[in-house]
């Protein structure tokens, strides 16, 4: 699972039926210091994340297990990060 920041959202009316009711967010992957890394991706959200929140997401097939109907998705926001305790910052 990787960290990212919510930067926006995507709306689609015409979609595969198992995706109905799922919120889709734009996630900018980051490192653990919140520095952007690579291109943004679209992930489903089941934890109620909002704009600018620091989250972690799961990619690949496992993402679908977060949703009730196993939709064709390869990224899902799994948690909103409250705090990160990095070893290099403790020293």
């Amino acid at each position: 699972m990787n960290p990212g920041i919510i930067v926006g959202r995507v709306v689609a009316t015409q979609k595969y039926h198992t995706l109905t009711g799922l919120k889709m967010l734009l996630v900018q992957p980051t490192d653990w210091h919140r520095n952007p890394k690579g291109d943004a991706l679209v992930a489903i959200d089941l934890v109620g994340a909002g704009s600018a929140e620091f989250v972690f997401y799961v990619s690949a097939r496992e993402a679908a297990f977060a949703a009730p109907e196993v939709p064709p998705v390869d990224a899902a926001v799994m948690g909103i990060i409250d705090e990160v305790d990095l070893p290099d910052e403790r020293q």
């Binding site: 930067v7 926006g8 009316t13 015409q14 979609k15 198992t18 291109d39 097939r61 064709p72 390869d74």
Partner: protein, 101 residues
């Protein structure tokens, strides 16, 4: 999932029998500036997308989680046609305005 623009179709008469009858589309992945991001891909269409539309696609084994691709040798599926994209509070794409808002 990533955003892509449908740029064409792909037709193959001789193909694996499990994917016969499926619509194959050529998609160009794009970034948040709608600039090309990588090379075009062939994807199975599960939603009825057409040329020029902004779509969402899933890759890898997730792509097999539709009735159209279940149990088939497929690693890329189009599963949504995008209406709007909002980035940092601004609409950067709105289909009803025909493209970038």
């Amino acid at each position: 999932m990533k955003l892509a623009i449908v740029i064409g179709t792909c037709v193959a008469t001789r193909k694996d029998e499990k994917i016969s009858g499926r619509k194959l589309l050529l998609i160009q992945p794009v970034n948040m500036s709608f600039k090309k991001s990588g090379d075009p891909l062939v994807a199975i269409d599960a939603v009825g997308a057409g040329e020029g539309e902004l779509v969402l696609f899933a890759t890898g084994s997730s792509a097999r989680q539709t009735t159209m691709t279940d149990g088939t040798p497929c690693d890329c599926v189009i599963m949504a046609i995008v209406d709007t994209v909002e980035l940092k509070g601004k609409y950067i794409f709105d289909k009803s305005c025909e493209g970038k808002a």
